[in-house]
Amino acid sequence: MPGRLARWIATEPDWDAVYAEQLPRVYNFFRYRFGDSADAEDLTARTFERAWSARHRYRRDLAAFSTWLLTIARNVATDHFRRMRPTVPLDAAAHVAADGTPELKAAQRSDADRLAMLLAQLPERERELLSLKYGAGMNNRAIARATGLSESNVGTIVHRAVETLRGRW
């Protein structure tokens, strides 16, 4: 029997286990993506609610469940980004930080805060890919499947984004 058919027939996901395993990944994707815990919780909840409604349409032969779920998370993130009005444009944020304002001093209190500020300055595509890799813990192949980019393209974009962060560190 074809392997994918055997898996379809033989095993049905334990949805409680799936939720426990995937919740931190989705939550951290949003934290890396938007940086705000309240938003991250709200967007995580929306992602799971959409996924749970559609779970019986999930096809194991097409993608791993985590990839399928993070694809939904990306769509939720895109919808949210379109509704958002950034309070400070990215260019202005960089200018303010460079002046050594209180914002820069607060960020410098910890490496994590500093990293969060640098992530916020990245272009959207780069920030999204880093959120999938370092927030959700996806490898480049899974990121490629979730985004439609080629695996080599993902690797290149991630590498350049990390180099950008290093340069600004």
Partner: protein, 321 residues
């Protein structure tokens, strides 16, 4: 600290436990609301669904029925496979315009009625009444006591193939790539089952029950296209056209019992009981959780159902002699 992968991962945090719990409860409530609409079927409705599949997997007959020779095809089930019923297909089966119970009543005629179940005083009495030695588990959960022994007598039905309503039913379910061929129309088959014995154990204020019955017997002419009929059954269950065709062609339909798993089931998986393949179905929608395992023995089919986690259930199943 320099920029390295450890630092890049350092922004990860665990979700707040209260948030995780609240969201989890909400998802459970949503799933329960869905399941109350497509509830975990009682045994009657589960058998009705299986009967619909049997009707749809009616018997293929050669075009020249007059010269067809009947032979007794004893189906020796050596494996039980679970197939998840798709939500949309179960919803389709209960739509009023399909009227599945009427379809079954019209085309499945009872020749031998089993009568109501009867209670028996001992396993020995049940063996005498059933006409076969009743098997029992040698390992039961602590505190479980054999509380009731029931038997339902043998049953025989005649199945008459009426192609048009069956094909209409397939279309009502959105299945347009397969249908029963015209030459099957009017074909007749027979299914005979022997007595079913149920041993019920009282366990933790509820019951767990072991069912057993020898393999069913079916009569049909030579040249039955079981793979074709199996493909239709799998399409009814919800497989895609391509997957149903592939699986139907690879499966030995004379030795495989296909069991429809309702959407309300939390999970199901194939299990090995004494070297034979069965299916374990679990329902965790409401406490106490319930599990059901179906598997073929050497000369009969078993089903064990109860309010216990799968390890204990499987241990009990493995101990049946």
């Amino acid at each position: 600290m320099s920029m390295n992968d450890d630092l890049l991962y350092s922004l990860q945090r665990s979700p707040d436990p209260a948030f995780a719990r609240t969201l989890g409860d909400r998802l459970h409530a949503r799933a329960s609301a869905e399941r109350s609409r497509l509830a975990w079927p009682g045994r009657r409705s589960l058998f009705a669904i299986a009967a619909a599949i049997i009707v749809a997997v009616a018997f293929a007959f050669p075009a020249v029925r007059a010269s067809a020779e009947s032979f007794l095809a004893l189906f020796r089930v050596t494996r039980v496979i679970g197939v998840r019923l798709a939500d949309r297909n179960v919803a389709g089966m209960v739509q009023p315009q399909l009227d599945l119970p009427h379809l079954i009543d019209q085309h499945v005629q009872t020749i031998l009625d089993p009568g109501p179940p009867i209670d028996l005083l001992s396993v020995g009495d049940a063996s005498s009444a059933a006409g076969y030695t009743v098997a029992q588990p040698t390992i039961v959960p602590d505190g479980a006591l054999l509380d009731r022994i029931r038997m339902q007598g043998p049953r025989a039905v005649r199945v008459i193939v009426d192609v048009d309503p069956i094909n209409e039913a397939l279309r009502a379910l959105g299945i347009r790539d397969v249908e029963l061929p015209r030459e099957l129309d009017g074909g007749i088959g027979f299914i005979r089952t022997r007595a079913i014995v149920a041993l019920t154990y009282q366990y933790r204020k509820t019951q767990l029950t072991l069912f057993q019955t020898p393999m069913p017997e079916m009569t049909m002419p030579a040249g039955v296209d079981l793979a074709r009929l199996g493909e239709i059954a799998l399409r009814i269950a919800g497989l895609s056209a391509n997957d149903a065709r592939q699986m139907a062609q690879r499966m030995d339909w004379r030795s495989t019992l296909l069991v429809p798993v309702p959407p309300a089931a939390t999970s199901f998986r194939q299990v090995d009981i004494d070297g034979r393949e069965g299916v374990l179905v679990e329902s965790k929608a409401h406490a106490p959780y319930r599990s059901l395992v179906l598997w073929p023995g050497r000369d009969r089919v078993f089903a064990l159902e109860g309010p216990m986690e799968s390890t204990a259930l499987l241990q009990m199943a493995q101990s049946i002699r």
